[in-house]
């Protein structure tokens, strides 16, 4: 269809346009046979986020539109959705910048996951895989009175993995997950990486058995969708590559860890 609104206008002019057309995938399994796209017109300013737009639709136009939200500044991980074909957190995604030249933004639920309703997906398999890698630290039995001495370099190596907010953007962009939900998935492998690399952890061998096992790091096909999708700019692929290497020299790594733990309560040089 010829678009009169955007004809002859520069991208800047379109950006300043007062309304956006928000296309949302709707699906209520109780009522609908299959998902369909519904379009809403939403007013906007240069600062409007996609979440603001959804919130506007919900409060003013159609209260039955359902989506998850909470912190609205990209730290809780509730609102990961598929915007214009790529996964992102809608709360920190600017609306004017997400529009195509006809002023349309398309919002769908995270792909490859069962839809509960509209933009809400069922993350059960996601959390199961998370639990499967034993995300908790198993520290040495004889804890010191004060802290374990961990060097700033060791912290820097795992720091980025700790900032993962478990939003599921990587998981649901992963092609391997699309083919089978028994793959552990980038989020859990990143968590596993965090624990394996932590000098305080006493069971790196057991972890490598899981994350280096049949459903673990070796099933990654280095597609890089997880890096592209991550709203926090983390790098699960690199963590997976590291896990692969460590799993290949598991025994030696376990010995190194045991050696390191002997000095865990002493100050670094």
């Amino acid at each position: 269809m010829f678009d009169f609104l955007s004809f002859g206008k520069t991208p800047e002019m379109i950006k300043k346009r007062k309304t956006a057309f928000v296309r949302v995938q709707r699906f209520n399994p109780d009522e609908d046979e299959k998902p369909y796209i519904q379009e809403f017109e939403v007013p906007m300013t240069p600062e409007t986020t996609v979440l603001d737009a959804l919130q506007y639709v919900k409060t003013e136009l159609d209260g039955s539109l359902t989506f998850r939200k909470s912190c609205r500044h990209a730290i809780c991980g509730s609102c990961a959705m598929n915007v214009n074909g790529s996964n992102d957190l809608v709360c920190h995604r600017n609306l004017p910048e997400s529009l195509d030249k006809t002023g349309v933004v398309t919002i769908k639920p995270l792909p490859y996951l069962p839809v509960i309703k509209d933009l809400v997906v069922d993350r059960t398999s996601f959390w199961e895989q998370y639990k499967r890698v034993k995300p908790w630290l198993v520290p040495p039995e004889d804890a010191p009175e004060k802290e374990f001495r961990v060097s700033p370099e060791e912290v820097a190596a795992i720091n980025s993995a700790e900032t993962c907010i478990m939003c599921g953007a990587c998981y649901s962009s992963c092609q391997v997950i699309a083919m089978g939900k028994d793959y552990i998935g980038p989020h859990a492998l990143l968590k596993s990486f965090l624990r394996v690399m932590d000098p305080r952890d006493t069971i790196p061998g057991e972890r490598l058995d899981i994350s280096g096992g049949e459903d673990g790091a070796y099933r990654c096909h280095t597609i890089f969708n997880c890096i592209d999708a991550c709203p926090k700019n983390l790098n699960p692929t690199e963590a997976i590559e590291t896990l692969r290497k460590l799993a290949q020299r598991r025994i030696a790594f376990e010995e190194e860890r045991a050696e390191r733990q002997k000095t865990l309560t002493e100050a670094a040089d």
């Binding site: 209520n28 399994p29 109780d30 009522e31 600062e47 986020t49 919900k58 409060t59 003013e60 159609d62 209260g63 039955s64 359902t66 989506f67 939200k69 909470s70 912190c71 609205r72 500044h73 990209a74 730290i75 809780c76 991980g77 509730s78 920190h92 600017n94 509960i116 309703k117 809400v120 993350r123 959390w127 639990k131 034993k134 995300p135 908790w136 630290l137 520290p139 804890a143 009175e145 004060k146 802290e147 374990f148 001495r149 961990v150 060097s151 700033p152 912290v155 795992i158 720091n159 700790e162 900032t163 907010i165 478990m166 965090l194 624990r195 932590d198 305080r200 952890d201 100050a267 670094a268």
Partner: protein, 602 residues
């Protein structure tokens, strides 16, 4: 067993730091039958949004000798004299609370602080480190020593994940996306809760020997707020409706550095690392208000200073409602290392990179000091005299042990939630071990709540729930904000009354049962309307200025009349429908020898 009935030994509502700590501790100690309800996934809890740090007097860093209170920090060398102590932490907290904090509780908290930080560390928390491998510490507002242990500027996130993981380790059962609707109270004994499985819309009567609330704060009653959409104070409202009093509800902290117009938190760590606040004339105006501590004065003071600058026409941005937070002099490396999240937020939401330009900010509703009154072990109080509600515990922001009094110091909230969450966990274990009973429930509470939901769903008025909420929030922000006065508070009270009436004609647009977030919003707004009234009523009664409660018509602190906690009870059914909350007062625990009230200057 009746249909839709679930029983547990312990039911914990809310899976933020306090709730998860309680659950984790109880499970670790061997009480295995625990159910944790959360209306969002546990890891989405708002504890994770805390940025700056958690306070503990570890004495790991100190200012370089001779550089003054704002100089660079260095590690305390081994064997050197400790630069910090729990006594100092305690005094800072008491002074920060404007002497309204209960000093026995504060003592418990600051003494447990070091222990709990080490426990976090042993559980796998990835703290930022000093060069010799100790936990790094930074400065924070109102603290007289560098005391905030941190993990860059996502401390809360790291702590929450750590505790949640440990809870999974001990096989705690989480009910994710279950909404707690009601508390089952009979004869003053708490017997469980009614909860909705949001996915199906089904209601369940959940009976338990002990119920723990860790439902978080009520900052969503304000339009400009740093709180998440979920922080609607449900637990506080539910407890209030069940006949439990609420304490010190009028004290709401306004954080000085919320992002301009969004209210999103720019961590206090920005100032802890040395950031400046500038007005439209480029002055560091804190010079006038707190010459000694400058930007690192407590939050209430800084917020008031900002608001004064704004009111006197020295604000920035189009409408003059902003103030600049200047981080440029910290340098690129320090910002990237210590404040990466803050930078990301500023770039994403106002398009300003703190490395190159000052960030526009404004005061934002942040923390609710008030809540459900509890003992040091999280046991909920039934009245001002110290009677207890059997089987009902609370911890975290929704509770008011009163460690924060009239104003909380930065980094003390993570500490409060952790310490009292843990204590509550142990208390619950004792309670169960000492032969707690599963009390019978008469009637069918789930059916009663089903009726309430059906009533809400059947309403076909023309009022929009969200519009009512918006009006309430702006009323609260404008009239019950940083500065308050009798006249405007009265106005707010009338407005709330009016909104409560209008709410009865509000309609829910979504009538389905599957994942009906529209219905949840309606219930949440109902809750907002209920406790906002308590907040305003408490504020009207308190004719003094203390901590975060600052009245322009009563500018002085009045220790003679007001050194006491407000306790608000819901009016009895036979009382007038329009009667506000019944207010009574409870004394403050003060050690008159050691920490008598003094003038509070910074």
């Amino acid at each position: 067993m009746a249909h839709n009935e679930i029983t547990h030994d312990v039911i914990i509502v809310g899976a933020g730091l306090a709730g998860t700590w309680a659950a984790m501790v109880a499970a670790r100690e061997g009480v295995s039958d625990i159910g944790v309800l959360s209306k969002i996934h546990p890891l989405r809890s708002h504890s994770g949004a805390a940025q700056g740090g958690i306070a503990a007097s570890l004495s790991n860093t100190r200012p370089v000798a001779g550089t003054g209170p704002r100089g660079p920090l260095e590690e305390v060398p081994p064997g050197a004299e400790a630069s910090d102590s729990w006594e100092l932490h305690m005094f800072d907290t008491i002074k920060g609370s404007d002497w309204l904090g209960d000093q026995d509780a504060i003592e418990v908290m600051v003494k447990d602080a070091t222990e709990i930080v080490y426990e976090y560390e042993h559980m796998g928390c990835v703290f930022s480190r000093t060069d010799d491998g100790r936990i790094n510490q930074r400065r924070f507002g109102g603290h007289s020593a560098p005391r905030a242990c941190f993990a860059a500027d996502w401390t809360g996130h790291v702590l929450l994940h750590t505790v949640h993981e440990q809870a999974l380790r001990y096989d705690v059962k989480f009910y994710s996306e279950w909404y707690c609707m009601d508390l089952i109270m009979e004869e003053g004994i708490c017997r469980g809760v009614v909860a909705m499985d949001v996915l199906t819309g089904e209601l369940y009567t959940m009976r338990a020997k002990a119920v723990v609330f860790g439902t978080g704060g009520y900052g969503r009653a304000f339009a400009i707020t740093s709180n998440a959409f979920a922080n609607t104070g449900d637990g506080v409202a539910i407890a209030y409706n069940a006949g439990v009093p609420l304490m010190d509800m009028e004290f709401v902290q306004f954080h000085p550095t919320g992002l301009y117009r969004h209210g999103i938190l720019m961590s206090e760590a920005c100032r802890g690392e040395g950031g400046y606040l500038l007005n439209s004339q480029g002055d560091r105006f804190m010079n006038t208000y707190a010459p000694e501590k400058m930007e690192l004065a407590p939050r209430d003071l800084v917020s008031r200073s900002e608001q004064t600058e704004i009111n006197e026409g020295r604000g920035v941005m189009g409408d003059g409602q902003g103030i600049y937070l200047d981080l440029r002099h910290l340098g690129r490396d320090k910002i990237l290392e210590r404040l990466p999240q803050v930078r990301e937020i500023a770039i994403n939401f106002v398009g300003v990179d703190p490395i190159d330009a000052p960030v526009p900010i404004q005061p934002t509703a942040h923390y609710s000091m008030g809540g459900i009154p509890t003992t040091l072990d999280g046991q909920v109080l039934a009245d001002a005299d110290g009677a207890l509600v059997e089987g009902f515990f609370a911890a975290g922001e929704c509770a008011c042990v009163s460690v924060h009094g009239a104003n909380r110091l930065g980094t003390n909230s993570l500490l409060d939630a952790s310490v009292f969450g843990r204590r509550t966990g142990y208390a619950v274990v004792d309670f169960i071990r000492n032969g707690a009973q599963l009390h019978p429930v008469s009637g069918d509470p789930a059916a009663e709540n089903r009726a309430r939901i059906n009533d809400l769903l059947s309403r076909d008025g023309d009022e929009n729930v969200e519009h009512i909420a918006q009006e309430l929030k702006w009323t609260m922000t404008n009239n019950c904000g940083v500065f308050r006065d009798g006249e405007r508070l009265q106005l707010a009270l009338e407005e709330i009354k009016d909104l409560q009436k209008r709410f009865r004609h509000a309609r829910t647009m979504d009538k389905g049962s599957r994942f009906n977030t529209d219905l949840l919003t309606t219930i949440e707004v109902d809750h907002l309307l209920q406790f906002s009234e308590v907040m305003v009523a408490g504020a009207i009664a308190r004719t003094e200025s203390r901590g975060a409660h600052s009245r322009t018509d009563f500018v002085k602190r009045d220790d003679e009349n007001w050194l006491k906690h407000t306790m608000a009870h819901k009016p009895m059914v036979y009382e007038d429908e329009d009667a506000g909350p019944r207010l009574s007062y409870k004394g403050v625990d003060i050690d008159w020898e050691k920490y008598p009230p003094q003038e509070r200057t910074y």
